[in-house]
Structures are given as structure tokens and as C-alpha cells.
């Protein structure tokens, strides 16, 4: 099949699959679990209040840092991120125990947990300062988290979309968001799950792709207008199954889910950069 025909066919297939593409960012609810017995007793009946306050603070921080999902405090929803405050597992019989924060996606398959220190063992005995002060202290500890690890180990399990359009020239995917929708800059990495045709029927193939541009094909007439301006991602070279993807007709490939694995925030993201976030050595922080 000649290149123009492939382009036309691909565009038709895309147009048939996603006519509207009004997709919202995934909603992620955030909960906080105070799991240190000493502090559970300390807060007693106010534990729920504390947990709600911390969850709200974490959701606000996540919303500020990660634009590809819609974070909110709560306990429901299909995607639930839980921040645990635990005693360090190696504390053993030590009277003064290190406490740590652990972030996990509820219900997701076990992965390397994202853990960082809350208080050192020397500070274990210190007063909490009450609900507000303690919630603030937890929120302050979020600055210590490794954001890349947060995306790689935790948020990369949250699908941001359950659909995308396969494009053949060049091979890549158009995902149903503009970069400003996700506050995501080029070079961010995504993992895309596809059902590819094979002799045994459709099989799951995962590809790593890098956001590389805003979708704006030269043959504008053949591309559905809904796709224009959306993020175009290209597969990372030398991946297993990439040749099969190149051979497959777009209408036979179904994208099952899109995940973010490396996130480069877009600055400015439709809003001015606050002065405290500007790194005066060069780029925004």
C-alpha cells in the first residue's frame, strides 16, 4: 500500500474510533492512613479529622506538582492513592522508632513502595503539636519525596486514558489530551498498552513512547479535526514487537490504556509561574 493510501486509511480508522475525544483527566482520590499506634492514641477521636486534613493537603500538593491527573481528597473512586504513616519496619524493639511515609496505589499490583522518612528516631518522642500542626508537618515532608520516583513507582500505574489513535506515518500514537490539558511537556515518557492482531488473535503489547509533538499532519484534510493539537507520541526505538505494530493496520489495533512513566511538567501551564517556583539559574523548578 502506498504512503498516501496508508495515511488516508489511518485517518479514516481514527475518525471512526474516536469521534468526539472529550476525555477528562483521571480522577485520583487521596487518603491518609495514620498507622503509628502512639499517634493513633494521641489523636483518638480526632484521628479522622487529621487524616482528612492531611489528605486534602496532599491532594493540593499533588495537583500542583502533577498535572496529568485530577487529585482530590476522599476515599472513593477507582484510583485511590493512600499515604501511610508507619513505623519503620526495621525499628524492631527500639524504643525510639523512625517513622516513615509510604505512598501506594490501593489495589495496584505490588511494586517497589515509595517510602521516605517522616521523623528520625530521635524525634519520635516529640509532641505532635495537635491536629493542625501535625497535618502541616506531614505536608511539609512531601517536599522530600523524589518526584520522578513518585511517577515511576506509583502514578505510572494510573491510566490517564483508555484510548489513543495509532498513526502510521510516522508510527506513533495520538493521545486524547493536549499538552496543556496534562501540563506535560515534550520528552515525557508514556507506556501504551495495545491489543495487536496476531495469528492467535489480539495479543497485549506494551510500548514505551515519548511525547514528541502536537499532532498536526501535513495532509490536514485526512486527519480528523478532533485530533489536531493533541499530544503525539513516538515509540522508543528498538522495542520488541515494534515491527508488528508498524505492519498492523490502524483499525486492527486497539489501545487499551495509556500511562505516564516520566513526567516533565510544562511551564507555564496556562498560568503564570509563581515567583517561588522560578529557578533563577535558568528554568522554572
Amino acid at each position: 500500500m502506498s504512503k498516501p493510501w496508508r495515511t488516508i486509511l489511518g485517518a479514516v480508522a481514527i475518525g471512526a474510533m474516536m469521534p468526539a475525544w472529550a476525555v477528562d483527566r483521571p480522577a485520583v482520590t487521596i487518603a491518609f492512613d495514620l498507622n503509628v499506634p502512639r499517634w493513633q492514641g494521641q489523636f483518638g477521636a480526632r484521628r479522622d479529622e487529621l487524616q482528612a486534613k492531611v489528605a486534602a493537603a496532599v491532594a493540593a500538593w499533588m495537583s500542583q506538582q502533577m498535572g496529568f491527573a485530577d487529585f482530590g481528597a476522599g476515599t472513593g473512586g477507582p484510583q485511590r492513592l493512600v499515604l501511610h504513616l508507619d513505623v519503620a519496619s526495621d525499628a524492631g524493639s527500639h524504643e525510639f522508632k523512625e517513622t516513615q511515609l509510604r505512598l501506594e496505589l490501593a489495589g495496584a499490583a505490588a511494586a517497589t513502595p515509595l517510602i521516605w522518612r517522616f521523623r528520625s528516631d530521635e524525634r519520635y518522642a516529640e509532641p505532635t503539636g495537635g491536629v493542625d500542626a501535625f497535618a502541616q508537618e506531614v505536608a511539609l515532608r512531601l517536599v522530600d519525596v523524589d518526584k520522578q520516583a513518585l511517577v515511576r513507582q506509583v502514578l505510572s500505574r494510573v491510566p490517564i486514558a483508555s484510548e489513543a489513535a495509532l498513526w502510521k506515518d510516522p508510527v506513533g500514537w495520538v493521545i486524547p489530551f493536549r499538552k496543556t490539558d496534562l501540563c506535560m511537556d515534550f520528552k515525557s515518557m508514556l507506556r501504551i498498552e495495545n491489543m495487536l492482531p496476531s495469528g492467535a488473535g489480539p495479543v497485549l503489547k506494551e510500548f514505551m513512547a515519548r511525547a514528541s509533538g502536537d499532532f498536526a499532519p501535513r495532509e490536514a484534510a485526512h486527519a480528523p479535526s478532533a485530533l489536531r493539537g493533541r499530544l503525539f507520541t513516538e515509540p522508543v526505538p528498538a522495542q520488541e514487537g515494534l515491527a508488528d505494530l508498524g505492519r498492523a493496520r490502524p483499525d486492527t489495533v486497539a489501545v487499551r490504556a495509556v500511562y505516564v512513566t516520566e513526567y516533565l511538567p510544562l511551564q507555564p501551564c496556562n498560568k503564570p509561574v509563581p515567583p517561588d517556583r522560578v529557578d533563577f539559574r535558568g528554568a522554572p523548578r
Partner: protein, 339 residues
Amino acid sequence: MSEPAAAPADKPADTPAEKPAETAAAPAGDWPIRVLALIPLAGVLFLWSDYHLGIGTSQPVAMAGLAAALPFAIGILPWFLDEGDDKALRSRLRALVARRITWRLIVVAYLVCASVMLTWTSVVVLAEDGGRLGRVTLRALDGASATSRAQVPVDKDKPARFVLPATPFGRPYRLEVEGFVPTTIEVYPLVGARVRPGVDLRRSPSVLLRFSQIALGSWKDAGGAELRVVAVGSDGTQTLLASTRTPASALFLGRAQALPADWQATWRTELQARAVSDALAARQILAWRETAVLPLSTGLEPGQALRVTLTNDQEHVFARSDLVVGKDEVQDQLVGDIE
């Protein structure tokens, strides 16, 4: 006593109709003997009053004044009277004494004094030299309705004195002196009881409550917490001995005492066993050396079971310790957090 022999002389005293004849003639008979018979009674009364009521030698000026006033009055009387009047006055006085102080009165006086001395007694708790007694409480043990009586002497060296009903066979009382182990004393009439706390009583044991840094951290936390020390009876009843909301690393229950020298080594070992780092352990030991005193409503007694709890504003008991007071003068007790 020869009442019948004295009867003729005394007869007019008992019959008002014959009074005019009596004033003229000088009284005769054994009236001096009757007056002398009252002197032992007065002496015994003075001693009893001095011993039990504290009225006597403890008021030397008043007693000396009283003793000097009568001879002085008799001695200066002749200066103001001529010889005839003096003789008449003396005669009337003799007649009055002879008429009023009868053998019957003397017997009754002896009987009344004896009954008072056999049914009233005293317990005196003496202050140590230069010291001031704390609260002293006394309660009869043989009467269900007996109420306790308490005194808190305000002056140095002043004893606490209780004048009490007694029986010739003695009566048991429970004596509590602040800072000493309560004791039971048997109080008899006449001799009563004299208690020198420093010699006759055992000092109350003290308990040093040491709070772990974690418990102390929770105690200092927002909302605060209350320390309660209760005595647990054999039937499980709890009596509040003390409570406070002021955080402290170490508190003496009872009086403050010097910390035995070997305790620090024990504390260090204890902290090592709890896997506390050297720096934290050192900080903890220094904090425990800063002691304060928690006043108790009653003194501690050996064998007494105590429960110490720290409860925060959420009604959560985050630290607790149960102990039995031992016989040592000072006892060490860690109050750790509950997890």
C-alpha cells in the same frame, strides 16, 4: 478521815439556822486537815492538766503569778487593816473554809477528779527539735461513727495535742502524721500517749516516678494530659491520691529524697535493654535527675498498691504503671508509654 468526830464543829455549817452563832466563835475541829487533804488533789490535778491539757508548766508565768498572788494578798492585808479588823477577817475566813470544805466535798472532789482522769486522756505528737509538724490525724478505731480529728500545728516546735475520751482498758486509735507511715496506738487513761515521730514512727516511703521520653512527649502534647495516682484497695476500689497536668520527667510521690548513687547505672542498663541510643540515653538520664514532688492526699504505706496513669484529652490512657509500695525508704518506678 473522821467525819463523825468533826460533826459537832461542822454541824452549824450544815444548818443555816445556827449561822449567826458560828460567825462569832472561832471554828474548831479538823478543818486544817481537810484543807491539807485537798493539796494532793490539787497537785494531781495540776500534773494531769499539765500532762494532758498542756496547761501548767507550759505557761510558767501564769502559774507562777497564780502561786504568788495568794500569799502576797494575805501578806499585805494587815497593812490596810487594824488589828481588830484583821482578826475578824481571819476569823471569818477560817469559818468560811471550815464550813464549806467538808469531808463530803473532799470525797466528791476526789471521785469527780478520778472519774475525769480515768475517762479522758490525751495523745501528744511532739515536733522534732526546731521542726514543724505536718498534718496530724487521729481516728478512733473501735467506733464505727468515730470521726477523725486533724491538726496542723503552725508554729515551730509546737506539738499536736488531742484530748480524747478513754476507758480504763485503753482505746485504739489510728495515728497519721504527714511524712510518716500511719500507725495504730493504744491509748490508756492517765498515761495517754506521747509520740515522737522521728523515733516512734517509720518515715513514709517515697516513690520516684520516672516518665519515659515518649510518655513525656505525649504529656506535653497539644491538649495536655493528666497524671493520676490512685491507691487500689484489695477490693479493687480506687482512691485518688494525687493528680497533676504539669509535665515532669521525674516526680517523687511523698517527700523528696536523695537519689541512691547506684540508680543511674541501673537506668543506663534499662535504657540499653530498650535499645535506646547512647545520646538519647544520656539525655534521658539527665532529665530524670531533675525531680519534683507531687503532694499526696495521704502518705504512702508499705504494701499499698498504686496505679499511675497518664490520660490525654481524648481520654486515651497512653502511659500506665502499677506498683506495690515496698519497705525501702525510696523506690524507683518507670512509667512508660503503652503501644
